[in-house]
Symmetry: C2
Subunit: 359 residues, 2 copies
C-alpha cells in the first residue's frame, strides 16, 4: 500500500508516473526490452531525451539562448563545476549569499578555485531567514553571483529573485518547477532531480549560452557545460532510466496544469501546515515568516523528549520520513509537487491529534 | 514480448532482476513507497548499499585493503579522475597502452594533467589486436599504468593481466564480472555499470587503499576517490535506483554460480559465434584470433551493401541492436552476462540462414 511520503529527497514521485514505468519496465513501447536496455543513441531513446528537454522548456518557458543540460553527479558536482566553468574569463572572484548548509557547501568548493565574497549571511540568526537585499555588499568584478533560492535543510526560501550585477547562479534543487520562473534573469540554474524532477542520479542545468566560453583551461571533461551542451548531454552514457522518468514527470506536470498549478498547490499545502503550526501551542516553525519555504517545512515539538514518539506514531499512521535532517534534528515535512494535498491534510490531522494527546 | 538484445550498452539486464524491480516498484519491501522514494540515508537503503558492496566483494574476492566505490559520471568521469587522484604524489607521468577508442579517450584526458607515455599501440593494424607485452616500453617513474582489458568498440580483449612496475589501472566497463579476477594485481579498477553490472548512471570503482592519498590538491570534490571512500559513496545523493538494481544483479550472479559460471558461459557463447564466423565465407571477424573479446564480437559481411538488409531482417527476427558502433560500421554482437546462450544460438541460426539466402 502506498503511504504519504514527506522525504526531503530522494522524494515522492507521482504515482501515475511510477505506474507507467512499472507497466512498461520489461517491454517498453513494444521494443522488446526495457527502456534501460536500449542504446542512448537509438532513435527510441533520442526521442525520449528530446521530448524531456522540450517539455521542460515548455514548463519553464526557457528562452532559446539557454541550453538545457542533463548532468550527473547531482548539485554537488555543480558546486565544483560552477567555478570551473565561470572563472576562466578574467575574474576569479564570485559573490555568494550564505543561507545555510547547501549554500555553505557551494561556497566551500568555490573557495578552492578563487575568491568568494560573502555578500550576506543569515548565520547571525541560525540561518532562519533569507537576508534582505538592501544590505548586500556586491563585488564590482564578480564572475557570478550565487544563491540558494530554497535551503532544503533549513526550510528557508527567497520570496523574490535577487537583482544583481553579475550572472546570477542558483541551486534550485528543492524548488524548481514549483512555480513559474523568469529564467531570463539567470545565468545558470541547476537542480538535482531527486526532489521535484525525478529519481536521484540525474541533475538539470539551464545555462545562458554566452557563458559557455568562460571555463578554466584545465576543467575536467565531466564538469564542462560546453562539452555537455555540444554533445546533447551524451558525452558519456547518460543515466537513461532517470532521464526517461524525469520526462514522464514533466508530462505529468503539464497534465496537472504546469508550474502555475504547482504554484497554487504548493501555496495551499504549505499554508495549511504553517497555519496549523502558528495556531498550535505545541508545534512551532523555527523559520522567519517572510522566508518560509513552500517546499520544506521544518518544525519542532515544545517537548523535545516526545520527538521519538512523534516519529514512531506518525510512521504507523502512514506518514513517512518526517524526521528532520540529522544535522538539525526536529521534524521536517517536504511538500514537493508529487506530495498531494491529502497528504498534508492527513499530516495536520495527525499532528492535531498528537497535540491533544500529548500537549 | 522480450527479445534477444545484443546492445553494447546500456545493455540487456537479467529478466528476473527486472521482474523483481517491476513487482516492487510502487511499494518496496512493504515500506509504502518505491525504493526510488526513500532517503539514501534510511536504514532500508543503507542495507541495500551494504549488501551490494558485500556481494560484489564476494563475487570478485576483493581483498580487505581495497575500497569499493559506487560513483557517478561513468567511466568517462574516471578518465579525468585517474590523473587527478594519482598525479599528486610526485610523478605526473603515466604509462598507457593504446588499444582503440576507449583507451584513446583515457589517454586524451590524462594528457591534460601530465605526461603520457604510450607503452604500446595497436594503431598499426587498425586496433585489431592487444599488443604483446615483450615489446612494451615502461617508464621508470610512472604514477600508474593504464590499460583497457576489453575494447567495447573494437572487440579486442587482453587474454592476460599485464605485469607492470607501477600501480595497474584498468577500465573494465565491458568485462568486469565475466570471469574471476585477481583484484590484488590492480591499483584501481573501474567500470561503468551499463554492461555487466546494472543500468547506466552508476559506475563501480575498486581502489587499493594506499592510493587514496595521492590526489592533486585542486581535485574537484566529485572526482575524489578519498571523499567517496570516506563517505561510503554518499558524499552527495547517490543514484539509488541504479545502485539497488546493481545489487539485484549481483545477487542474480551469485545464484547463477558467480563469475566462474559466467566465465564458462561467456566462453561457450563467444566460441559458438566465433566458430560460426570462422567457418563462414560470408561473415568474418576483423579481430586477431588471440585477442578476440568474449564480450563484444564485431563482424562484417562480405558484401557491405547487404548491411542494411541484415539489420532490418535480424531485428524482425527478434535480434536487437546488432549494428556496429557508428565510428566503425559493420555489426557487433555484445554477449554480456545477461545475454543467454539461446540468444547466441538464435543469432547463429539467423546468420546461417541469411548467408544461405544472400551468400
Amino acid at each position: 500500500m502506498r503511504k504519504f511520503n514527506f522525504c526531503a529527497g530522494p522524494a515522492a514521485l507521482p504515482e501515475p508516473v511510477l505506474r507507467q514505468a512499472q507497466e512498461e519496465l520489461l517491454d517498453w513501447q513494444g521494443v522488446g526490452c526495457s527502456v534501460m536496455e536500449v542504446s542512448h543513441r537509438s532513435p527510441e531513446f533520442t526521442a525520449v531525451a528530446e521530448a524531456a528537454e522540450q517539455d521542460l522548456r515548455d514548463l519553464l518557458s526557457i528562452p532559446g539562448n539557454y541550453k538545457v543540460l542533463f548532468l550527473q553527479g547531482g548539485a554537488t558536482a555543480q558546486f565544483s563545476a560552477i567555478p570551473w566553468n565561470l572563472f576562466g574569463a578574467g575574474s576569479k572572484s564570485a559573490d555568494y549569499i550564505h543561507t545555510g548548509q547547501w549554500a555553505e557547501k557551494a561556497i566551500k568548493e568555490a573557495r578552492r578555485y578563487g575568491e568568494v565574497n560573502i555578500v550576506a549571511s543569515a548565520e547571525d540568526r541560525n540561518f532562519s531567514y533569507a537576508p534582505a537585499a538592501d544590505a548586500w555588499q556586491e563585488s564590482d568584478d564578480a564572475a557570478y553571483f550565487h544563491y540558494t533560492p530554497n535551503e532544503t535543510i533549513g526550510g528557508v526560501e527567497f520570496p523574490y529573485i535577487p537583482e544583481v550585477k553579475s550572472p546570477l547562479v542558483a541551486d534550485m534543487s528543492s524548488t524548481i518547477l514549483s512555480q513559474p520562473l523568469a529564467v531570463e534573469r539567470f545565468g545558470f540554474i541547476y537542480a538535482g532531480a531527486q526532489k521535484n524532477i525525478g529519481p536521484s542520479g540525474i541533475a538539470v542545468g539551464i545555462v545562458r549560452d554566452d557563458l559557455l566560453d568562460r571555463a578554466l583551461p584545465d576543467i575536467p571533461r565531466s564538469l564542462s557545460w560546453k562539452i555537455a551542451a555540444d554533445g546533447q548531454s551524451m558525452d558519456n552514457t547518460p543515466p537513461t532510466f532517470a532521464w526517461y522518468l524525469s520526462g514522464l514527470v514533466f508530462k505529468w506536470l503539464k497534465a496537472q496544469g504546469g508550474v502555475e498549478a504547482m504554484a497554487e498547490l504548493s501555496l495551499k499545502k504549505s499554508q495549511l501546515l504553517y497555519g496549523f503550526l502558528d495556531r498550535s501551542a505545541f508545534f512551532s516553525s523555527p523559520v522567519s515568516v517572510e522566508s518560509r519555504s513552500r517546499m520544506n517545512v521544518p518544525f519542532v515539538l515544545a517537548d523535545e523528549s516526545l520527538d521519538k514518539k512523534f516519529l514512531k506514531e506518525s510512521e504507523e499512521a502512514g506518514l513517512l520520513a518526517l524526521k528532520g535532517h540529522r544535522s538539525v534534528g526536529g521534524m521536517r515535512a517536504s511538500l514537493y509537487n508529487a506530495v498531494p494535498l491529502e497528504a498534508v491534510e492527513a499530516l495536520v490531522a495527525f499532528m492535531a491529534d498528537f497535540e491533544q494527546r500529548n500537549g
